[in-house]
């Protein structure tokens, strides 16, 4: 089997604060194959965004990457000197951000901020850069791209800005696209348009994608495989079909059940949503053992003392839960 395009091993990101070390990401592993889309889902504080920023060593201080390897096209990105990493950022691995309004520089026209990237990374001249930008704007579904080039971000709608953000990410033909909540700030009909666009681009360009989101619906529509994170650790990784039809980890199951469904009748006698009691643990002094144990309906005494290790339970399906076949390390 060919090695995956990207593999993250034992990634740890810590925030050194006055009160102690916050373990925002505490031993995360996942991999993305060529052309594959991996969805990373989790609630706020699960470490999903920090772990994806850490791939490119973009974690803001006081965060620090404490351990781990990020193998991309045969090289460890975490061991690379900053200058070489700069050539990978935006070029081989590109990012699409959550807030299209702030990810574009308001004082430059669309054409000049996109052109700068091409001149910097690809050393293209002005004419060649413009031709490439026009073809990309066309590709991301922007009508009348020649006019848009001369416009400024504030003249564009949110959906349009996100299309520009995607075009910017595609400028250098990246092998991997990191999209962090790319549609959260958008309205549903615009979200549908952007998701369609991303799905279409992935197919046409054969690009791999890491899609970070809190929205189960979005990953169901987009992802080939899904990784569920909770309190800085991976709970479960499976193909999209398996994760939704046969989730193993109690957190995944509870999360899926707790969402109201648009295709379910709630009229008649009152039905309540199954909920997860309690709150995620603080990551300053995370509990020993499984992070979910305190809220888990199936937790055993062992779960509170033993840290589960991600274990393959079926082909392509791995779970970190002692109850469901994982090995554990006594804390």
């Amino acid at each position: 089997m060919a090695p995956p395009l990207l593999s993250v091993e034992g990634l740890q990101v810590q925030f050194h604060t006055r009160d102690g070390i916050v373990r925002a990401v505490d031993g995360v592993d996942y991999s993305v194959g060529r052309g594959e889309t991996l969805g990373i889902v989790g609630e706020s504080g699960s470490g999903k965004t920090v772990s994806s920023l850490a791939l490119l060593r973009l974690v803001p201080p006081p965060a620090r990457i404490a351990a781990g390897r990020v193998m991309f096209e045969g090289e460890d990105l975490l061991a690379k000197p900053e200058r070489e990493l700069g050539a990978i950022r935006g070029r081989r691995i590109a990012m699409v951000f959550q807030n299209p309004a702030t990810s574009l520089n308001p004082i430059y026209s669309i054409g000049s901020q996109l052109g700068e990237i091409l001149r910097w990374h690809e050393k293209l001249d002005r004419a060649a850069a413009e031709a490439r930008i026009l073809s990309l704007l066309d590709l991301v579904g922007i009508t009348d791209p020649a006019t848009r080039l001369r416009q400024y971000p504030h003249e564009l709608s949110g959906g349009m800005k996100q299309r520009i953000g995607i075009a910017r990410a595609l400028l250098c033909n990246p092998a991997l696209l990191l999209a962090d909540e790319p549609t959260t700030a958008l309205d549903v009909t615009i979200q549908a348009q952007i998701l369609d666009l991303l799905a279409d681009l992935r197919q046409r360009l054969g690009m791999a994608m890491v899609l970070v989101t809190h929205d189960m619906g979005v990953v169901a529509r987009m992802a080939d495989r899904i990784t569920v994170m909770y309190a800085g650790r991976v709970c479960e990784t499976a193909s999209a079909a398996t994760l939704f039809s046969a989730p193993r980890h109690p957190y995944t199951r509870a999360l899926l059940e707790s969402m109201p469904r648009i295709d379910h009748r709630y009229t008649g006698p009152r039905q309540l949503l199954p909920t997860i009691a309690g709150r995620p643990p603080g990551l300053l002094n995370p509990p020993a053992g499984c992070r979910f144990a305190a809220r888990c309906p199936e937790a055993m005494a062992e779960c509170r003392t033993t840290l589960p290790v991600e274990t393959v339970v079926a082909p392509g399906h791995s779970v970190s839960c002692i109850r469901h076949g994982s090995q554990g390390i006594a804390a």
Binding site: E43, S44, S157, G159, M160, D187, V188, T189, I190, Q191, A192, Q193, L195, D196, H214, D215, M216, G217, V218, A220, R221, A240, A241, F244, S245, A254, L255, L256, S258, M259, P260, R261, I262, D263, H264, R265, Y266, T267, R270, L272, L273, P274, T275, I276, R279
Partner: protein, 328 residues
């Protein structure tokens, strides 16, 4: 039909677009944020008001509560025309209305005074409405906190010590303090995490059953609307385009915009064969509102008449009203 708890009739809120002159401003146009909206809500029911950002759903709610002054129209609460009461400003009458309908805000981080403890926040409505019953306040505050799933000792804490979900519970408790019959819930769960969302939705459902409350539930999240609502109204560019009992709307939406909205929701099920309706373009700015049906530029089923004539909201079934020349 029994008298409705809340009756909104031809409610409009227009904002003048002003151009600044040398000394005075002159009006050059008007943004019709809410345009001729009418609906009724019975006691104990929930009307889900849905639409995308800028469709006027929040302005509608704020106009009902007189947080913005409506340009025209009437709001009747328990059969009483309430806008003239706000205009007159007779304090005891205004308080009487404020006791009937309350508002829960979207952002639990902004809706609590950061300098007040939770107890102080909950004491405020009691101080305003029942100043003579001061002795009962502490027990009432305890009861309110318990009612929303918090502990009495939380009364001594400040908002910043709470999570978003807990703050939203406080916001709900504050609204319940005056014993209202109607709660206007403005996106109460959209800023919360999935697992917390379910907790708050359940809380709202239980409170409704226990206290016989009616809700006006404003949201862009159709799955939570489906869960909590008995009826749904869809807004587009300040207009009500469709209104129906919840199951009827989700099963047989008549308006092409409603259908597009429903199909745009990503369903958490990769196998779901969703027939997707691809809406072209974006919601036009309220300044450049299309003539005729406001939705016609994005509508696949638009007829020539849609361009020139605005469709009226008419009954097409039991409780189902629709504004479309060429229904699906």
């Amino acid at each position: 039909m029994s008298a409705a708890l809340l009756e909104v009739e031809n409610l409009s809120k227009h904002y003048p677009v002003l151009r600044r002159g040398i000394l005075l401003q002159r009006q050059t146009a008007a943004i019709r944020a809410v345009d001729d909206v009418s609906f009724r809500l019975q006691a104990g029911e929930t009307l889900g008001l849905v639409g995308e950002s800028g469709c006027g759903k929040t302005t509608t709610a704020r106009a009902i509560l007189n947080l913005v002054t409506p340009s025209s129209g009437a709001v009747r609460f328990e059969g009483r025309d309430i806008l003239p009461v706000f205009r007159k400003g007779e304090r005891s009458e205004v308080l009487g209305i404020r006791r009937g309908l309350q508002y829960v805000f979207q952002d639990p981080y902004l809706s609590l005074n950061p300098r007040w403890t939770i107890g102080e926040t909950l004491r405020e409505p009691l101080r305003i409405h029942w100043p003579e019953r001061e002795a009962e306040w502490p027990t009432r505050i305890d009861a309110l906190l318990r009612m929303v799933g918090l502990e009495p000792q939380h009364a001594w804490r400040y908002p910043h010590e709470f999570s978003g979900g807990q703050r939203q519970r406080v916001g709900i408790a504050r609204a319940l303090a005056v014993e209202p019959r109607l709660l206007i819930l403005d996106e109460p769960v959209s800023s919360l995490d999935i697992s917390v969302r379910a907790q708050i939705l359940n809380l709202l459902a239980e409170l409704q059953d226990g206290l016989g409350l009616a809700y006006l539930y404003i949201s862009h999240d159709l799955s939570s609307v489906r869960f909590i609502s008995t009826h749904v109204a869809v807004m587009y560019l300040g207009k009500l385009v469709e209104m129906a009992p919840v199951d009827a709307l989700f099963a047989a939406a008549g308006h092409h915009y409603t259908r597009a909205l429903l199909s745009a929701i990503p369903v958490p099920d990769p196998g779901a064969a969703q027939s997707r309706i691809h809406l072209q373009g974006e919601v036009p700015s309220a300044l450049r509102r299309p003539t005729g049906c406001p939705f016609h530029p994005r509508c696949a089923a638009a007829l020539p008449v849609c361009r020139s004539e605005e469709p009226a909201l008419i009954d097409i079934g039991p409780g189902h009203r629709l504004a479309c020349h060429n229904p699906a």
